[in-house]
């Protein structure tokens, strides 16, 4: 499991690693907002390329990343698409605004080119958001994360919660594996093929109790140590991880100011000034051919009441 963790605790050596925590969090938040705000393939593609370039520039250990990437493609890409095609094959009509069948299997099972475009766009969106998360996780240490959140004017107690939780994850993962191994040594079978669901639930409960009690047992010690160092006495605090801005920081800050303005303009433009009739732009659907569908008409359980 330790190989699977991509969390970074040691400050790295590349330019992106050396940036201040505030810049990293700022860029991460802006990229996440931008990815959420757009459904346009022409905007999503550059937003997807930048985080991938950032990941490559940091020269990470690729093994866990490839595993995560494969996992993501299987769950979101393949299983998600199959489920979508089975449950609501005409989703393209709702979001892209047209209906062109390219393959008909049965009455309820067909493939339209619009649905495929919808799948492609949402998948690109997921991949872009995945790449942003990975890039952020790779370049940020817990204390940088906390200092960056406090730069965004979050109350510092919340920042401490985030950094403390982020820092405790490997400890808890280790304890979890220890407890699971010792339980398995005493004959608790957790393999899904050999035990029934009820038994597994019972065993997991038995495993959770020591994990929860031993983890929460540390609370008092940590809290006392923090109290002794004067935590929570003053309204503000400074951050050890925050340092003077490097050259890369200044460039990134200037870029993020422009980027934020661009996002704001984009949202205003696409939502209010010049709204596109449906959610997604599509290269092979002309603007005048678009049919609008009420979302509530597509819900399967509302059809039962009609």
């Amino acid at each position: 499991m330790n190989n699977k963790l991509v969390i970074n605790f040691i400050p790295g050596k590349t330019t992106l690693h050396k940036m201040a925590g505030s810049t990293k969090v700022l860029l991460f938040v802006l990229f996440t907002i931008a990815i959420i705000a757009t459904f346009d393939m022409r905007v999503l593609l550059p937003l997807m390329v930048v985080p991938f370039a950032a990941i490559v520039s940091m020269k990470p250990n690729y093994k866990p990343l490839i595993f995560l990437f494969a996992f993501m493609i299987v769950t979101v890409g393949i299983i998600g698409t199959v489920m979508l095609l089975v449950v609501s094959p005409d989703v393209g009509l709702t979001h892209v605004g047209s209906h062109t069948e390219i393959l008909q299997v049965s009455d309820r099972l067909y493939v339209t080119s619009e649905t495929l475009w919808y799948v492609l766009v949402t998948f690109t969106k997921r991949i872009a958001s995945f790449a942003t998360v990975i890039a952020f996780v790779l370049m940020t240490t817990p204390s940088e994360f906390a200092s960056g959140l406090s730069f965004l004017r979050l109350p510092y107690k919340v920042c401490i919660i985030v950094s403390l939780a982020y820092r405790t994850i490997p400890d808890i993962a280790r304890r979890f594996i220890d407890i699971r191994n010792s339980m398995q040594m005493r004959g608790v079978e957790l393999n899904s093929k050999r035990t029934s669901l009820g038994k597994r639930l019972k065993y997991t409960g038995a495993m959770l109790v020591p994990l929860i009690i031993s983890s929460f047992g540390k609370v008092e010690t940590i809290a006392n140590a923090m109290d002794l160092r004067g935590f929570g006495r003053l309204k503000k605090r400074t951050w050890y991880a925050e340092h003077e801005l490097t050259r890369a920081d200044r460039i990134a800050r200037a870029f993020s100011a422009v980027f934020a303005a661009a996002i704001l303009f984009y949202i205003l433009y696409t939502k209010f000034l010049n709204p596109y009739p449906v959610t997604m732009w599509c290269p092979f659907v002309k603007l005048e051919n678009i049919t609008k569908v009420n979302v509530f008409d597509t819900l399967f359980f509302l059809k039962w009441f009609r």
């Binding site: 991509v6 969390i7 959420i36 990343l65 996992f71 993501m72 769950t75 299983i79 998600g80 489920m83 979508l84 449950v87 609501s88 989703v91 709702t94 979001h95 949402t122 969106k125 997921r126 991949i127 995945f130 942003t132 998360v133 996780v137 919340v158 401490i160 919660i161 985030v162 403390l164 939780a165 982020y166 405790t168 994850i169 808890i172 993962a173 979890f176 899904s192 669901l197 639930l201 997991t204 409960g205 959770l208 109790v209 929860i212 983890s215 929460f216 609370v219 008092e220 940590i222 809290a223 923090m226 109290d227 935590f231 929570g232 959610t279 997604m280 979302v295 597509t298 819900l299 359980f301």
Partner: protein
Amino acid sequence: MENTTVKAKKSIGSLIVGEWNTKTIVAIAIGAALYGVLMVYGGIPIFTNTQLSVAMIIPVVVGGLFGPLPALVCCGVGNVLADLIGGWGMWFDWSIGNAIMAFCVGLLPVYGARITEGIFSVKHAIIYAVCCILGNVIAFGVITPIFSYLLYASDLNITFLQAFAATLGNSAVLIIIGIPILILLAKRYKARSNLSQDKTGEY
């Protein structure tokens, strides 16, 4: 004696917010980390893509000991952390849903189930079960689909199916594992709290 009567008459508002001292903050942080780890590694798969997430126990414990708002923060942060370490991208719709579900689950002290004083009766267990189911339905049946649609343009049919599975799975875990754990915790705290004031010294 005066001290105990003052303690008993806490207003609902202060019960909801909870006490935000250092201990609470550390407990929320550790709870969030536990939630994140269990969310990623501690699931019991039932079908493909659906699993009973054991992580649902954490808001029960945090809510029981510290109140609903700490449970909400714990679950929200925990879910964001789970997204960060799980590496499946940010799903803010589900984070918000989970946070609200945790708030409903963590209402324990508000209706008088004070775990820290060892109070947890059958009545409380029934209210707890109702709260869990209602919280899940509100969080995953209403709030998550709205955000899913607005933020990611997810297909609502699929979101509702997933929400249905999540509601069933979470409620099952919350009730089947949650109630025994609450009884256990209440017993542990009761064993420590049955100290009575020594009156022999008073003449």
